[in-house]
Every structure is written in structure tokens, then in C-alpha cells.
């Protein structure tokens, strides 16, 4: 099977997206040179801008094994790591990124913590601590805890509240949540101070936060530019652009880069240049992509004039913090807490309005479909990532029921390419075009305005 699935990297439609791969490599390279220079290094989960920036402000270089998993998958080098973790007794049903990381780390340990010469992208160096996170996914802390098998380093878990839509509006509950997060962050700072034997540099943190917010403002502005018809950029562009704003948002180079991204997209919008020639359908994608076969999306676009206009709630920056929440907040930790909490709960209004939970992974889409004038959703259930898959069937039901927007379900995985059947996926897409036509009619009849 695999031989047929030749590696095809996707043709990104933005010049800046083609350049974005640099940031992933930069992140890896920086941690390696930090180790050589005797500086501390940490591995972190994506924790939606909670802890990594704090650690970086204290002079720690951070790297994200999740990103490394996608990297290994995209370069098709994950298989050996997967097998290696399974042979140590980890069930094969666990998160593909986790198994990739567990296998990699086992090899790292067996190599005396010298990065194996053939490691993808130069490899991740041994960390001094692990920053886990309780948000959205159990693997985010169970996986790092399990790494203890190979890495005798402390794990810190940054906890994250996940509020139900009605509970969000209980009087005072939101502030309780924020208070809790601030407390968690403060403990994390103390943990770092005692681990590193140095004090928090609050000025450095403020500076980094400033850059982060500016980068994110641009990233959000780019998201809004994508409302345009025809769509100026595609999901494949986004998956490349995601790396700098998700992992290195507090880096001046990222900020400068995002300025260019904005300009490029703006130019295309102003000049009515679509990412797909003859855009006929606008689709949305949920949640994590098949990193190993991104080229699939180009083919779909080409064959049917489908623009993947928007995608995955998970990795987008949130809408900016409402001014009222930002002003007068002197404590940078509180600012961080509010921002992350906002990321996770900005769908609360939609959740209550439509009587749909959860706020994460479901409610935000209720607004996206309308804003981005979506004709159809591509659900990508993953065999190895439950969090991004749990609610896809639910989402499919809700979008159809409330907005007459149909979904096509294409099974796959983030790292395990053996699950993705490209031919079958194309067959489904061919038929789905008719389905989208039909529902367009339905929406017209029901007075839904797209």
C-alpha cells in the first residue's frame, strides 16, 4: 500500500506559508545549541500560551514534541518510533505523537542521551524538565508522566479548567476559573525558580507577552481576511503558518514574519485573487490533518474547485481579548490566564445560544460556518487522537441540523499513514460535491443566507 502513497508535499498557495517551515527547524536548532551552551531546555505540550512563554522568559529554550510528531509524520520517519514504543508495552491505541515521542526518547536514552545521528530534523535534545498540560486531552499529561520511564526529570502539570457552557455563566464562576489559573501559574513560576536556581525576570516576560499579543493580533486579522470570497488562502497554508504563532509567538522574528503574512493575504483579498482558481465550494476541515498526505487537499481543490476556507478550532488564535478584560491588569500571569481561558471559552455564547456543548471543539464551529460561508465540513476522525475526534460525529449532526451544512467523513491519522485510503477519500469527495449542491438549495429554501 505504502509504495503507492508517494510523498507529495502540498503546494501551498502563499509564499509566506512556503517559508514558514523555517520556524520549526529554528525551534529545534535553538534547543540543541542551548544544550551545547549549557542552558536549560524544556519539552512542552501545546498549552495555549500558558507556560512556555514564562519558561522562555526565564532563559529556558522550549521545544514541542507534538510538533516533532507532526514533523516526523510529514517526513515519514515516525513508523520506527511507533513500533519502538509499542514493543515497550505502550498500547497501539495511544496518541500517535505520544508513541512517536516515547519511541524517540527510548532511543535517545539507549544512546546515552546523545541524539541519534539519523534523528529527524536533527532531533530534540534531552530536556531538564517537562511541561505538561491538562487542557482538552489526557495524553497531554499522561504521556509526559509516562516519559519518566526514560527521562529522570521532573514533570510539571499546568492545569486548565474546562467549563460547561451553562456553568460558564454562573455568577462568579469565570473569575474563579481565572483565579485558579493564576494560582497554577504562580506555582509554576516557583517550581521553575527552584529548579533553575534563578528568579523570574518579569520585564522579560512583559516584553515577550507584548510580542505574543501583537503576533496573535496579526494572526487573527489574517483569519478574518480569509472571510473573503474567493478565499485568499487554504488550510494547507494555515498548517504551515500555524507553527510560528503556536510555538514561537513571542519571538520578534515571528512578529515580523506575520506582518508579511498579513500583507500577502491582504494583497490577495484586495485584488480578488483566490487561492483556488474558480472557487466553487468553500469547505471547512476538522480537526488535525493527515500530515503525511497533505497533497490530497490540493487534488481536491483542483478537481472540484474546493477552497478549504477555514479549519480546526484547536490551533487558531482566539479573537482578541475584549478590551474590558485586558485593561488595568498589571499581573502578567493574570493576563496570560485570561487569554488562555478566553481561547478555550470564546465559544460559550454560541454554546448556550444553540444549546450545544462542549464549548471546545464544537461550539466555535457554529460561528465559523456562518462567518466563512461554509458549504461542507470535512471530518477527519483519527485512529490515534481521541480528543480531536470525540466530538466530530456530534459536530456533523449539529451543523446539519442547525445550518443544513453537510459533512464528509474521511478516516485517517496524524502519523499513521496506513489508515488513510486516498482512493476512497477521493471517491467520497466526488459524491460529496453533489451533496453540497443539494444542501445549498436547502439552505436557500430555509433562508440561510449562503
Amino acid at each position: 500500500m505504502e509504495e503507492k502513497k508517494k510523498k507529495r508535499s502540498s503546494a501551498k498557495t502563499l509564499q509566506t506559508a512556503r517559508e514558514a517551515g523555517y520556524f520549526g527547524k529554528k525551534m529545534l536548532a535553538r534547543t540543541r545549541s542551548a544544550v551545547e551552551a549549557g542552558q536549560p531546555v524544556g519539552w512542552a505540550m501545546v498549552e495555549w500560551w500558558l507556560g512556555a512563554t514564562i519558561a522562555k522568559a526565564m532563559g529556558v529554550e522550549m521545544v514541542f514534541p507534538e510538533n516533532y510528531g507532526a514533523f516526523c509524520a510529514a517526513s515519514r520517519t515516525a513508523e520506527a518510533n511507533l513500533d519502538y514504543s509499542e514493543s515497550d508495552g505502550f498500547p497501539s491505541t495511544l496518541c500517535g505523537y505520544a508513541r512517536n515521542c516515547l519511541g524517540y526518547t527510548r532511543r535517545l536514552k539507549e544512546n546515552g542521551f546523545v541524539i541519534p545521528a539519523d534523528a529527524t530534523g536533527g532531533g530534540m535534545p534531552k530536556p531538564d524538565f517537562l511541561l505538561a498540560c491538562g487542557a482538552a486531552c489526557d495524553a497531554r499529561y499522561k504521556w509526559f508522566q509516562a516519559l519518566g520511564r526514560y527521562l529522570d526529570v521532573p514533570v510539571w502539570l499546568l492545569e486548565f479548567p474546562q467549563t460547561g457552557s451553562r456553568e460558564y455563566f454562573l455568577p462568579g464562576n469565570k473569575e474563579e476559573n481565572i483565579r485558579f489559573m493564576v494560582g497554577e501559574l504562580r506555582s509554576f513560576v516557583s517550581f521553575l525558580e527552584s529548579l533553575l536556581g534563578r528568579k523570574m525576570d518579569w520585564d522579560a516576560l512583559a516584553e515577550r507577552l507584548d510580542i505574543l499579543f501583537k503576533t496573535h493580533a496579526l494572526a487573527h486579522a489574517v483569519d478574518r481576511l480569509r472571510l473573503a470570497v474567493p478565499s485568499p488562502a487554504m488550510s494547507t497554508d494555515f498548517w504551515a503558518l500555524m507553527i510560528p504563532h503556536l510555538y514561537l509567538p513571542d519571538d520578534p522574528e515571528t512578529l515580523a514574519f506575520y506582518g508579511r503574512v498579513y500583507d500577502e493575504v491582504k494583497y490577495k483579498v484586495d485584488h480578488n485573487i483566490g487561492a483556488v482558481p474558480n472557487e466553487r465550494y468553500r469547505m471547512m476541515f476538522a480537526e488535525l490533518p493527515p500530515w503525511h498526505t497533505l497533497g490530497f487537499f490540493d487534488e481536491v481543490a483542483e478537481r472540484h474547485g474546493v477552497a478549504f476556507a477555514f479549519e480546526s478550532w484547536n490551533y487558531h488564535v482566539p479573537p482578541p481579548l475584549p478590551a474590558g478584560e485586558k485593561e488595568g491588569i498589571g499581573d502578567p500571569l493574570e493576563l496570560i490566564a485570561r487569554y488562555s481561558y478566553h481561547k478555550f471559552h470564546h465559544g460559550a455564547d454560541a454554546g448556550v445560544k444553540y444549546g450545544v456543548d462542549p464549548i471546545i471543539f464544537t461550539a466555535p464551529y457554529l460561528e465559523y460556518v456562518q462567518d466563512y460561508r461554509i458549504d461542507g465540513l470535512m471530518c477527519h476522525p483519527l485512529v490515534s487522537c481521541r480528543p480531536a475526534t470525540y466530538t466530530l460525529m456530534h459536530l456533523r449532526n449539529v451543523l446539519l441540523e442547525k445550518f443544513k451544512v453537510p459533512s464528509v467523513v474521511v478516516e485517517g491519522d496524524i502519523v499513521d499513514m496506513r489508515v488513510f485510503n486516498e482512493e476512497e477519500a477521493h471517491a467520497k469527495m466526488d459524491a460529496f460535491i453533489e451533496t453540497m449542491d443539494y444542501h445549498r438549495e436547502l439552505r436557500r429554501k430555509e433562508g440561510l443566507n449562503w
Partner: protein, 385 residues
């Protein structure tokens, strides 16, 4: 032999949970359904509900839930939602979802998007037991209390909560006493019988439940088991077991279940609530900090060895006190919480000189047949020549 009324009653409730629940309703009780062992039943009870743990049914194929949940998720919760969507839990007056694991959290959300009950709450539960987390959890319990009060239109006094705490503490102590009876060899009560009692307790009004356990204890003490063949003594650890098909299979294969470290068992009945001026504090501490389930993160400490001790040392005393010969690690497929634990836990237990059998199962009675060979081989491995 004297009639074993308590054990029989437990077996009856176990055999038809829904009938038992409807009988309670006919007697005028209100019933509150909830997930997992992280919901303080004391509060539900103080608000006037009979708490009923929502369980699935391993014996019934999942058909309806396929439209709402993907197949790759925890089959236990798939089964729960399937029963819910089929209307089996329609009699509930309240529903309390909980963030125990991702499965519990997402199914709580999906559940309430499709099934409506007069009173609904989702209890966010932190993954850590840091000080801040305990304070936060206590506040969330306060919100649960407020939502319950709003529904019933009746304040829940601190005294009422304290009374329920002492009733449930008593239940937990009684169950532990029952567990202790299994420390002798051969144990006078089987794993299957204990499971039936535990399941029955998860839906009985607390005082009725306490009477039931008292009866069972008396009955078990009255048993005079004759000489029995020597069989290996098993500790069952990991994902929940709510069906006697599993304990039955294990016991048929020449093993004895003498102790458990699972959700319907020692995790539910293991620790008391300390009396505190604000009863919610005692509840928060007991539920979040004292229950040892891998869903709650334990601080790693200074080294791997210390980490392992903090996470697993309690199993050492289980093994010593219950004279355990082997451990069965029960993993329901797709359970991340327990899946990540397997290699380290296995390593730790084998380090104590106890053999371990880890098996992934699909939460389906139909799929159990192939496990027979594994259990039998495991029994033969431990056989004392």
C-alpha cells in the same frame, strides 16, 4: 445454609439495575444520575436525590451511539451514551457530568446536548491536587450545591451535608470491612459477589445500602467454607469492571479475585471524608486528593523512583495484606488514562516479585471468550507446585 438475603438482594439489583431504580421512583424517590467516582454523592443525597452511577452494559451491542460518537473512543462511555440515547436512563431527575477523563468530559457534553433532564450540572475536576486545585474544586462543589438548591428550591444546610458524609463514611467503612474478610485464604466471598454488592450500592439510598452491606457482612461471616483447593489470589487493577462476566471468567479459570484497584470498588469505597467546618472542604479533599486514580496527576518528586512510589505504593499494601499472588491489569481499549500507565505499572509490580497479566478488552461480553486462554495460562504460570 442460612438464607443469604443480603447477597441475594444485591444480585437482584445487579441483574436489573433499571427495574430497581424504577421501584425507587415508584416509592417517591428522585434519582440523580452521575458519571465516575469523582462526583460527591453526599451532595446529591443531601439535596434529596438518590445518586445512581451511570454504567454501560457489556452485554448489549452499541448501535445508536454510533451516530454520535466515533468508534475509536472508550467503549465503556460509548455504551453508556448508547443506553442513554435508547432511553434507558429516561427516569433520571438530574444529571451530573464530570471531567474524570476526556471520555467522561466529552460524553457529559454530548449527553446533555441530546438528553434533557430537569436538573443538569457539569462538574469540572482539576487534574492536579495542588492547593489551588483543591480550593477551585471546593468552589465548583459550591456551584453544584447551588444548582441543586435552585432546582429543589430548598437550601442544603451544612448539617445536612455533614449527616450524609457520616452516612457515606459508614458505608465506605462497611465495604472495607467486607474487603478485609477476603484477606483470609480461601476468601469466604467471591469477587463476583463483591462486585454485585458494589454495583447495588451505587444506586441505593445510602441507609438502605448500609443495611445491605451489614447483612452481607453477617452472611459472609457466617459462612463456614470447607477445605478448598489452593488457588492463586488476584488483585485486579485498572479500568472499571461493572460486569460479573469478567470476574466470573477469571474465577472459572482457577483464580480468585481477592482485591481490586478499580473505579467500582476500592476507588469508590477506599477513603473517608474528614470532618471539616465547611463540609465542602472535606469533600474536595477526599474526592480530589485522596482517591488514587491515574486520572489525577501526582507530583513527580525528585526522581523516577520517587515518582513511582508516589503513584503506586498503595498497591504494595494491597499485595501484602491481601496476600496477592498476581495482578491482572484490566485495560478497556482506547482508555488513555490507564493505557499510558501499563509499562511503568507492570515494571513496578514485577519489581515487587508479583507476576502481571495486562489485557486489553473491548467492553463486550461477546468478546471475552478469547481471554479465557490468557487467564488460564496466567493461572498455570502461578500454580504452586
Amino acid at each position: 445454609m442460612a438464607e443469604e438475603k443480603g447477597l441475594r438482594r444485591a444480585a437482584e439489583i445487579y441483574a436489573d439495575r433499571f427495574r430497581a431504580a424504577r421501584e425507587l421512583k415508584e416509592k417517591g424517590h428522585k434519582i440523580a444520575g452521575y458519571f465516575c467516582c469523582y462526583v460527591p454523592v453526599e451532595l446529591l443525597s443531601a439535596a434529596g436525590f438518590v445518586p445512581m452511577r451511570i454504567l454501560g452494559d457489556m452485554g448489549e451491542p452499541v448501535t445508536v451511539a454510533d451516530t454520535y460518537l466515533p468508534t475509536m473512543m472508550c467503549p465503556f462511555f460509548r455504551s453508556c451514551l448508547d443506553l442513554g440515547l435508547k432511553g434507558r436512563y429516561d427516569f433520571l431527575d438530574a444529571f451530573v457530568g464530570v471531567h474524570a477523563c476526556d471520555g467522561a468530559e466529552r460524553v457529559s457534553a454530548v449527553w446533555r446536548s441530546y438528553l434533557q433532564y430537569p436538573c443538569v450540572f457539569y462538574l469540572d475536576t482539576p487534574h492536579t491536587a495542588h492547593d489551588h486545585a483543591l480550593v477551585f474544586f471546593q468552589k465548583q462543589l459550591g456551584y453544584l450545591q447551588a444548582v441543586l438548591e435552585e432546582h429543589t428550591g430548598r437550601k442544603i444546610s451544612g448539617a445536612a451535608v455533614k449527616e450524609q458524609i457520616s452516612l457515606y463514611n459508614r458505608q465506605r467503612r462497611l465495604v472495607r470491612e467486607l474487603y478485609k474478610l477476603r484477606q483470609v485464604d480461601p476468601p469466604p466471598v467471591s469477587g463476583t459477589e463483591v462486585l454485585q454488592v458494589a454495583v447495588a450500592l451505587l444506586q441505593l439510598p445510602v441507609q438502605e445500602g448500609n443495611r445491605l452491606v451489614e447483612d452481607v457482612i453477617a452472611e459472609v461471616k457466617a459462612r463456614r467454607p470447607g477445605p478448598a483447593p489452593k488457588k492463586s489470589r488476584l488483585l485486579v487493577s485498572g479500568c472499571l469492571i461493572d460486569n460479573i462476566a469478567i470476574t466470573g471468567l477469571i474465577e472459572e479459570c482457577g483464580l480468585r479475585v481477592v482485591m481490586d484497584d478499580t473505579a467500582i470498588g476500592s476507588r469508590t469505597f477506599g477513603h473517608d471524608v474528614e470532618p471539616t467546618p465547611d463540609p465542602l472542604k472535606g469533600l474536595a479533599d477526599r474526592y480530589l486528593a485522596k482517591i488514587v486514580c491515574p486520572r489525577t496527576f501526582r507530583e513527580t518528586g525528585k526522581s523516577r523512583a520517587e515518582d513511582l512510589e508516589q503513584r503506586y505504593a498503595y498497591l504494595k499494601s494491597f499485595i501484602q495484606d491481601w496476600k496477592v499472588d498476581g495482578v491482572y491489569l484490566n485495560l478497556i481499549r482506547n482508555c488513555d488514562i490507564h493505557g499510558y500507565e501499563i509499562p511503568e505499572l507492570k515494571h513496578y509490580l514485577e519489581g515487587l516479585g508479583v507476576p502481571v497479566l495486562a489485557v486489553e478488552q473491548d467492553y463486550s461480553t461477546a468478546g471475552l471468550a478469547p481471554l479465557r486462554t490468557r487467564f488460564q495460562a496466567f493461572a498455570e504460570t502461578m500454580e504452586i507446585d
